[in-house]
């Protein structure tokens, strides 16, 4: 077997380099220059790849994993019960929380008897894997298709409940990440997380 046939080509675009003498026309370089200028001119009129970000947003996948949201239930109560499973499942250890017992007067605010008084995600540590979402037994945390905006100080990337919690009057749609398959998986008694 000769050497050429054993070469593996990945793209079929490799070119054999040769040192052959240039013809007179080639040595003038002018045809090549005009060809090059024609190519750049053709790019002048092509559709531009720029996305003008704040006005135009690049389309993202339906199940894009971006900034988190802490959901409320139908009555506007916080779903999170501060069980700490999200923090435990987080591979980047980005989530911290402080749990607190619900008072009788706070029943309209929190769904469960225990709630997260402080809930913080360090957005610089977060790797947006979505494990917190899978771990959550209360369907309280979801990743959304929102972006984390830029900041000038690192401390500003530690998001508390003021940013993460879903506003009462403007619910955030997570139905695309809440498909029947997901719900079935969450309620599956044979799975480890429901035992």
């Amino acid at each position: 077997m000769n050497q050429d046939s054993t070469k593996i080509s990945l793209t079929n675009r490799s070119k054999v380099v040769s040192n052959k003498k240039m013809s007179f026309l080639e040595s003038l370089y002018l045809p090549a220059i005009f060809k090059g200028m024609f190519i750049t001119m053709s790019h002048f009129f092509t559709k531009k790849a720029t996305v003008q970000y704040p006005e135009v947003k690049r389309p993202v996948s339906d199940i894009y994993r971006g900034m988190h949201v802490l959901k409320r239930d139908e009555e506007g109560r916080e779903r999170c019960t501060a069980c700490g499973l999200c923090a435990l499942s987080c591979p980047a250890e980005a989530i911290t929380m402080i749990a607190k017992e619900r008072l009788e007067s706070e029943k309209h605010l929190y769904r469960e008897e225990k709630y997260a008084a402080v809930y913080e995600i360090n957005m610089l540590r977060c790797i947006y894997c979505g494990d917190c979402e899978s771990a959550c037994p209360k369907e309280a945390i979801f990743l959304t298709d929102r972006f984390v905006p830029s900041e000038v100080a690192r401390d500003n990337f530690i998001y508390g409940k003021d940013v993460l919690l879903e506003p009462k009057d403007a619910p955030i749609d997570v139905s695309k990440r809440q498909t029947p398959e997901v719900l079935a998986f969450k309620k599956d008694k044979t799975q480890l997380h429901n035992k």
Partner: protein
């Protein structure tokens, strides 16, 4: 006579401001065009279409730290950019921006100085241009700056020769060194480019080299020499260097348009049946359209071709362009004698 002096002073101010404004917006055009060639949009945030971008850039340069190396020659360090700017602007004096305007008994030529050695004057001025870069690069007391300055000097001197040789053919044909005469002889579509295609080619290539534009931007050469002759410059002194490049580009485009593309002449100008003054005004616009095209060509080439290697640059200048220009002179002479056009 007084009205003529007043008119000339006004014309000088107008042309000066025009050169500055055009150079200012050439920086924006360059960035826009660069963006378009690279499938981007270019700056478009400051004002509509980014029209305030040059203003923002200028303001930024003014507020930058004014740094001067401790070992620099203080006087020459300041002189460098000033000289470059001054010389870049001087060239516009002899270019005929249009024909004459006749108002009453007064004839107003749209040219600051119709000197009978116009072409020679432009060459004298552009050869001083190398001093600005040389002085700046040398006085910075920096290896990269010196290297850039030396490259600039050798490059500009080498290419000036071929440029002058290319022009001799034009002067032979027109029999005059006055730019006004050379342009006036190219009436209608009798542009010099049809009679001097090789000369035109040599001249344009040399113009690229004289303005230190890609593929001849070895004096700057950011990938090898950091910034070449202006490595040590900051704030508005750097701004002057960058700005004068665009003024040079504008003046060079005006020279190419006047010498080879008929200046303010355009085809069928007498068939239009317009009055003399209107023809002059239209002609001026035509000249600026031609200048715009050549400035676009400068940018087009910049975003297409890579930089020459230094030895290639020298070989190309001395062994290709110069002989070509000399052959062009001989050929022009022979053909001129044979056909006496």
């Amino acid at each position: 006579m007084d009205i003529q002096i007043l008119y000339k002073s006004g014309l000088i101010i107008v042309i000066l401001l025009l050169s500055l404004v055009i150079a200012m917006y050439a920086t924006l055009a360059e960035r826009k065009i660069a963006g378009f060639f690279q499938d981007r949009l270019g700056p478009n945030r400051a004002g509509i279409f980014g029209l305030l971008q040059p203003v923002a850039d200028g303001v930024k340069l003014f507020f930058k730290e004014e740094f001067m190396p401790a070992t620099a020659d203080k006087f020459l360090y300041v002189l460098g950019p000033s000289l470059t700017m001054l010389i870049a602007l001087l060239g516009s004096a002899v270019i005929p921006w249009g024909n004459t305007l006749v108002i009453g008994n007064n004839v107003f030529p749209l040219q600051v100085a119709d000197v009978n050695i116009g072409v020679l004057y432009v060459f004298a001025v552009t050869s001083i241009g190398v001093y600005g870069i040389m002085i700046g690069g040398w006085s910075s007391n920096n290896k990269y700056a010196l290297m850039g300055a030396v490259r600039a000097a050798s490059q500009m001197i080498s290419y000036e020769l071929a440029m002058g040789m290319a022009l001799i053919a034009i002067v032979m044909m027109s029999g005059s060194l006055s730019l006004h005469d050379i342009v006036a002889q190219q009436h209608g579509i009798h542009w010099n480019v049809w009679y001097q295609p090789i000369g035109f080619f040599v001249f344009v290539i040399c113009a690229f080299a004289e303005t230190n534009r890609t593929p001849f931007d070895l004096p700057e050469c950011d990938s090898e020499l950091i910034g070449g002759y202006h490595t040590e410059y900051s704030s508005m002194k750097l701004g002057f260097y960058l700005f004068s490049e665009y003024i040079n580009m504008f003046i060079s485009s005006a020279m190419i348009a006047s010498l080879y593309f008929g200046g303010y002449n355009f085809p069928f100008l007498h068939e239009l049946g317009m009055s003399h003054n209107w023809l002059t005004i239209v002609g001026t616009f035509v000249l600026f359209a031609k200048i715009g095209f050549f400035m676009f060509l400068f940018m087009w080439v910049r975003w297409t071709l890579p930089r020459f290697r230094y030895d290639q640059l020298m070989r190309f200048g001395w062994k290709v362009l110069l002989p070509l220009a000399i052959v062009n002179i001989v050929a022009t002479g022979v053909i001129y004698e044979l056909f006496k056009k």
